[in-house]
């Protein structure tokens, strides 16, 4: 939606930035259709699509029946037939009913049709914990989809990145899951250009340069990592990488950084075993073996079901836990 006074004065939240990207793309490209539960009149349960139905009508911003497989499956059909659907799944936990359509169909169509049928769609999904939500509203399933060839997986952590990456995702010829970390939705504002711009999918961002140790993370834990960095002794020089895209992720940036520092800690909310941290640690082992001064460490969620909110902060990696692992790795 057009910018409000607050946005002009103080900048955009993650919600504002995504809304702006959707607004601009709906305006620019008549093939774009938003569909999902409560995305229309209600503007989405997080208000990410607020106001869009009023402007673009209920044919382009569509309140669908309550059926994730239906949303995903028909979005696939829309995409095949030349539209640019942007389905929303209300919470990451409800990707469950859509899993078959997403993984067995959207991800495979290009391959199984030898490129003759393609699925340019962007699946928007709020992700992660930390907002006191009920069951199945706080998970971090990015590794499942990163492990699905044919899907691209994006998770921005800032309003600026969100807008640029979302515009790239919508214009991408392949299906993209665009995970939106809920904990960051309204946690801060930043200046975001009003004009159209894109950030390439697959490019990490170095948030702080350093020489002693590399921290790799993405999504909401980026801010827990920044918190950890504040807790470290000043003479410890840490390079913090926000991956931004989980699949295909920016291997070069990780490799170059760890070849420089020789130490790495990977941080994510998702469970540890078979998480993206395992992939990144292996990449480092493959490419940085002789540079390593310490074993790669993982600070992650536990290998359990995401607990209800009374214990969620005990589950989620926080500043102190990350800082401790960084110091142990640095001292190794």
């Amino acid at each position: 939606m057009p910018r409000t006074e607050a946005m002009i004065e103080k900048g955009l939240t993650l919600v504002d930035a995504i809304n702006e990207a959707l607004y601009q793309e709906l305006e620019r490209d008549s093939r774009v259709v938003l569909l999902g539960e409560d995305v229309g009149a209600n503007g989405g349960v997080f208000r990410v699509t607020d106001g869009l139905q009023k402007v673009f009508g209920s044919d382009r911003v569509v309140d669908t029946p309550l059926a994730e497989s239906g949303i995903m499956g028909t979005a696939i059909g829309l995409a095949m037939a030349g539209m640019r659907p942007i389905p929303e799944i209300q919470f990451e936990g409800f990707l469950g009913p859509a899993y078959d359509q997403l993984v067995n169909h959207a991800a495979r169509y290009r391959t199984r049709s030898r490129g003759s049928v393609t699925i340019p769609m962007t699946v928007r999904v709020p992700v992660g914990g930390g907002i006191h939500a009920p069951e199945l509203h706080s998970d971090s399933p990015e590794a499942i989809y990163a492990h699905t060839p044919g899907l691209k997986v994006v998770m921005p952590s800032t309003p600026y990145d969100a807008k640029g990456l979302l515009l790239s995702a919508i214009r991408d010829p392949d299906p993209v899951i665009f995970f939106e970390p809920k904990r960051v939705y309204r946690s801060f504002r930043e200046r975001v250009p009003e004009e159209d711009y894109t950030i390439p999918i697959g490019q990490a961002k170095i948030l702080s340069e350093g020489t002693d140790l590399t921290v790799v993370t993405w999504g909401a834990t980026t801010f827990q990592c920044l918190d950890a960095l504040d807790k470290l002794p000043e003479d410890l020089s840490v390079e913090l990488i926000d991956l931004r895209t989980i699949a295909p992720y920016d291997r070069d940036t990780v490799i170059q950084s760890v070849q420089k520092t020789g130490r790495c800690v990977v941080v994510h909310e998702a469970p540890k075993t078979a998480g993206m941290g395992a992939e990144i640690a292996t990449l480092i082992q493959e490419h940085c073996f002789l540079y390593l001064k310490a074993p790669v460490q993982r600070v992650t969620g536990f290998d359990t079901v995401m607990p209800y909110y009374k214990l969620e902060l005990d589950y989620l990696p926080d500043g102190p836990r990350i800082a401790e692992a960084i110091q142990q790795t640095a001292a190794y």
Binding site: E37, D38, A41, N42, V45, D63, P65, L66, A67, E68, S69, G70, G93, F94, G96, P97, H132, A133, P134, E135, L136, H137, D212, L213, L232, P233, L236, V265, K272, T273, K293, A294, P295, Q297, R298, V299, T300, G301, F302, D303, T304, V305, P307, Y308, Y309, K310, L311, E312, D314, Y315, P317, R321, E324, A325, Q327, Q328, T329, A330, A331, Y332
Partner: protein
């Protein structure tokens, strides 16, 4: 061959107690005794009180998101009462607190759940109620499986599953209906059609005129009832439960009701709902209606009402006290129910509350002692 009709169907609507508290005596025959009605009225009143208090707990930061049951008490009461406590098995979603309580789940469990404490889902021994289900439209398949097991073991028991109008759009709902019918499983599908699925009204959710007619496609007995009418819900529910118990297979009930509150405390229905619609349904409040009926019968008066309201307050205060008196679970609670036996790695994560291995792995600590840390940073 001329064109001929190969199938014809109709859906009946039943109301016994109208909005003004007037009872259809003929239809009400052999349904509820005065004593039962009084008892259910009191339980509905307590449930409503709990609902109002839960709302305030959320607003004052003492509880997380909570979905109010307000306006749907007759549906829960009628269906809950028709099923046999300790025998039949309830498979709920989240808007039938009263039915769960009638079947033995203490109310403070429900509060604990919404307070973000998973011990609210630990079903007491002998209580046949599943935990509150958050993912919409998934639980009806489980109810069908439970009922199928009853049938296989020749147990005269019934599974009852609760769900909303929106839930009938999910694929799992249709699979459950078809399975139940094909297996002739003793299950009752109880749809609380409260007209809304968050912000999506029934007319946008589906093009079917009724929800009840969906059962016809699966060859299942079906009925639409006034869901704010305790008598009608109970009568339909009792018939369905008895049919199932007698080996007659599954049934479908659409209880036409209304969500008098927001979807949950995280929602603001004023964004999408006409206040006049809400106003109209306020007049059809199931509790108000019963009160009119009981007053008309001469078994209820203002003094009794005042006393009941006092009692409901006290009961609910106790429930809240119990729930809030339960200390926060320890972090062991995150781990202990992942598997019957915790794998070693999970034991390690549980005892250290860490996922990094340094400082925990004796072999690597040993290396460090042997001097390999000399290149390391002296930060620690």
């Amino acid at each position: 061959m001329p064109i001929k009709t190969v199938y014809k169907a109709q859906v009946e609507y039943m109301q016994i107690l109208d909005e003004n508290g007037k009872l259809d005596e003929k239809l009400a025959k052999d349904t509820l005794t005065d004593e039962e009605v009084l008892s259910l009225y009191e339980q509905m009143t307590v449930c409503r009180q709990l609902d109002e208090v839960a709302f305030r707990l959320q607003r004052s930061g003492r509880m997380g998101t909570y979905p109010q049951n307000k306006g749907q008490e007759a549906a829960a009461a009628g269906m809950g009462f028709a099923a046999k406590k300790g025998v039949d098995w309830l498979v709920p979603c989240y808007r039938e607190n009263l039915a769960l309580n009638m079947h033995g789940l203490p109310y403070h469990y429900v509060l604990l759940h919404w307070m973000g404490d998973e011990r609210g889902n630990k079903i007491p021994e002998g209580v046949y109620v599943n935990p509150i289900a958050i993912p919409i439209g998934t639980q009806m398949l489980h109810a069908t499986g439970i009922a199928w097991a009853f049938k296989l073991r020749k147990e005269p028991r019934v599974a009852v599953t609760f769900f909303g109008d929106g839930a009938t759009s999910e694929g799992d709902f249709h699979e459950a209906m078809n399975f139940a019918s094909v297996m002739q499983a003793p299950v009752v599908f109880f749809c609380q059609n409260n007209q809304w699925a968050i912000s999506v009204p029934r007319e946008i959710q589906m093009n079917s005129e009724t929800v009840a007619q969906k059962a016809i496609a699966y060859g299942m007995p079906t009925i639409q009832v006034d869901g704010n009418d305790l008598f009608a819900v109970y009568k339909a529910a009792k018939e369905a439960v008895e049919r199932a118990r007698a080996g007659g297979g599954p049934s479908f009930i659409e209880a036409v009701t209304y969500r008098l509150g927001d979807h949950t405390t995280a929602d603001d229905a004023r964004r999408y709902r006409d206040p006049q619609e809400l106003e109209a349904w306020m007049g059809r409040d199931p509790i108000l209606r019963l009160r009119k009926y009981l007053t008309g019968k001469g078994v209820w008066d203002d003094a009794k009402q005042a006393k009941l309201e006092e009692r409901a307050k006290t009961i609910v205060q106790e429930i809240v006290k119990t729930a809030e008196g339960i200390e926060k679970p320890t972090t062991d609670d995150i781990f202990d129910f992942t598997y019957a036996t915790l794998p070693a790695e999970l034991e390690r994560q549980k005892s250290t509350m860490r996922t990094s291995s340094l400082g925990q792995d004796p072999a690597q600590a040993g290396l460090r002692d042997m001097g390999t840390a000399t290149h390391g940073h002296s930060a620690t």
